[in-house]
């Protein structure tokens, strides 16, 4: 470093990078990170690239060259910034993941276990529908977390031959609620008989919200919907008895806490406890 304020014993300067700040849950986690870092007296700088991973790499290079004290990657696949992680390591800048994943060169990743969450919600759904029926899957495979969840569902469903997946649809981002709502409206019309659709499994909460709205508007409330993430709009709908019956609330605060705690360790010259640490998730059900 060559004399920037952020160096040495002075105030610590942490860069928080994500391509998905417009996602509710990412935003929530970033807020917690900022707040907790602030409590420690560190300054933070949040950078969002609006879905553009190439730009994420560039912005990461920028913060590396401005010698921040640590970098947090939020809700993104670190494989895509592998070489930037390596150059951060060279410069001695620790890179933390929050709801990302762990790769060589990083210091740590704190996350909910996507596989675990998917198991939790998928098993709940399978049980609710009595291990049989017609299922619709709403997903977004380019997102690594959602992909993992979908893969776990696929794996689980192999054991339940009576559950028939009618269709799996990709939900467009941005605009996932409107998009899933339209797709659900169309699917409801394509499957008009009672019981022709038993349930909708959504890879995250936004498509679940859209699907539930379509179901409500069509008065087909026998169909149940599940999401994952625990965003507050979904939770409110669960509480109000909408077709969304459950979601898994990721412990974003927990993840943020882990990251900040471990970061302090590192700043104090210590080691992290583990490279991959989980904040336990919790199933939220309606009454």
């Amino acid at each position: 470093g060559d004399g920037d304020v952020s160096d040495g014993e002075g105030e610590k300067n942490v860069a928080i990078l994500t391509p998905f700040l417009s996602s509710v849950t990412t935003k929530q986690m970033v807020d917690t990170l900022e707040q907790q870092a602030g409590d420690k007296g560190w300054s933070t700088n949040v950078i969002d690239t609006n879905g553009d991973v190439g730009a994420l790499a560039s912005r990461m290079e920028d913060v590396i060259s401005s010698n921040v004290d640590a970098i947090i990657l939020v809700s993104t696949d670190p494989n895509q910034v592998k070489s930037q992680i390596d150059s951060a390591e060279e410069k001695g800048i620790p890179v933390f993941g929050s709801d990302a994943s762990y790769i060589e060169g990083m210091t740590l990743n704190a996350t909910s276990d996507n596989a675990e969450m998917s198991k939790l919600i998928s098993n709940y759904l399978i049980e609710q529908i009595g291990e049989e029926g017609n299922l619709i899957v709403f997903t977004h495979r380019p997102h690594p977390g959602v992909l993992k969840r979908t893969e776990v569902l696929d794996e689980l469903l192999k054991d339940y031959p009576d559950i028939n997946v009618i269709t799996e649809q990709e939900i467009q981002v941005p605009g996932p609620i409107e998009n899933s709502r339209q797709q659900m409206e169309n699917l409801l019309l394509a499957n008009k008989e009672t019981d022709s659709i038993t349930a909708v499994w959504a890879g995250w909460d936004e498509p679940a919200i859209g699907a539930a709205q379509a179901i409500q508007a069509a008065n087909r409330e026998d169909i149940i919907v599940t999401g994952i993430d625990g965003n507050s709009q979904a939770i409110e709908m669960i509480e109000n008895g909408s077709p969304i019956k459950a979601t898994v609330k990721q412990n974003f605060d927990g993840m943020a806490e882990i990251v900040i705690e471990q970061m302090e360790n590192v700043f104090d010259g210590g080691e992290v406890e583990d490279t991959e640490m989980y904040a336990p998730a919790e199933l939220i059900e309606g009454k």
């Binding site: 700040l21 417009s22 509710v24 935003k27 929530q28 969002d48 609006n50 009618i166 269709t167 799996e168 649809q169 990709e170 467009q172 941005p174 605009g175 609620i177 409107e178 998009n179 709502r181 339209q182 797709q183 409206e185 169309n186 699917l187 019309l189 394509a190 499957n191 008009k192 919200i209 859209g210 709205q213 508007a217 965003n231 507050s232 709009q233 409110e236």
Partner: protein
């Protein structure tokens, strides 16, 4: 004899017009027939027809705005961002207890004002609308993010606000009715009123229109203002339909809106943007999305099929025109 020649040719031009529309419209009808055969009980129903009108309603409204700007041979690339902003403002006002009419009206006015700014900059300094509105979209996006803190607005939204986007009147969704009103009004505006005629003249030859005494700048600015206003309205209606507003929720409309406008341009011989064409273009996109989902075609195949159908329709229509 003179007279005979006139009528003969008159009819001829009429026929050419029909032929030229041939391709895209026939393609549109074919698509509907195919879907109806493949899925008679789901696709070819009155319910689904109503459903499609609702699904395309917002796209049509924002695309009508784009049509106006394209008429004067300009682009407004900020419409997606403007729709997002309109949505969050509307949702926020409604959540803060503002009367519903105001919660819809205020974003519309803001949209109009932003459009005036776009138009003012573009006409006053004679800069390219493509890059100016692209930059304006970035500014608006940043502002929306600041306004919402990046999060979705959904708490405390009163049900009367959601009612607009979710209710039906004698079986017809209110959104579809709004769409019909917007199309009808702007069709009249563009083809029957002097202001529309002037906008088309400007698009046809700006310099000649100027020499003919049309205040070009004023009319262009009006087109930008109306376009931006309709984008904001789209956003507000979207927020009402979803009962929530996301800071990038309207961004996705931008490219689809232009796709609808451009498809619509192909159905008239002169190849200029026009309100009915835009409605038609949006309907083609809407029917494809609806039908392919009903047929449970996977998303990636839907994309491939939609793209190919559009290209084939464009080609057919040109071939139709040549014969």
């Amino acid at each position: 004899m003179e007279q005979t020649e006139k009528t003969l040719l008159g009819r001829d031009i009429f026929n050419k017009n029909m032929l030229s529309s041939y391709g895209t419209i026939v393609a549109g009808i074919l698509i509907v027939i195919i879907f109806s055969i493949l899925s008679p009980s789901s696709f070819a129903t009155f319910d689904n027809f109503i459903n499609i009108t609702r699904q395309i309603s917002l796209l049509v409204i924002i695309a009508v705005g784009a049509t106006l700007v394209m008429t004067v041979k300009e682009f407004d690339l900020s419409i997606g961002a403007m729709a997002s902003l309109g949505g969050v403002i509307s949702a926020k006002l409604a959540a803060d207890g503002m009367p519903i009419t105001l919660a819809i009206l205020i974003p519309i006015i803001i949209g109009f004002l932003v459009g005036l700014v776009n138009g003012y900059i573009i006409t006053k300094f004679n800069v390219l609308s493509f890059v100016t509105t692209l930059a304006m979209g970035t500014v608006i996006g940043g502002f929306t993010f600041w306004f919402t803190g990046g999060s979705t607005i959904f708490e405390n939204i009163p049900s009367e606000f959601k009612w607009i986007g979710q209710t039906s009147v004698i079986g017809i969704p209110l959104l579809s009715i709004v769409m019909i009103l917007v199309v009808a009004f702007f069709w009249y505006f563009m083809t029957q009123m002097v202001v529309g005629r002037r906008l088309y003249a400007i698009g046809g030859n700006e310099k000649a229109s100027k020499v003919s005494g049309i205040p070009i700048k004023r009319y262009k600015t009006l087109a930008f203002a109306l376009c931006s206003m309709l984008a904001a309205l789209t956003g507000a209606l979207l927020a009402s339909r979803l009962g929530s507003a996301h800071p990038t929720g309207g961004d996705g409309y931008f490219l689809n809106a232009y796709a609808a406008v451009f498809l619509g341009m192909t159905i008239v011989r002169s190849g200029v943007s026009n309100v009915f064409g835009t409605l038609f273009g949006a309907a083609v996109l809407g029917v494809l999305a609806n039908g392919l989902t009903i047929l449970e075609i996977p998303t990636f195949m839907q994309n491939v099929i939609t793209g190919i159908i559009i290209i084939v329709a464009l080609i057919l229509q040109k071939i139709g025109r040549e014969n």
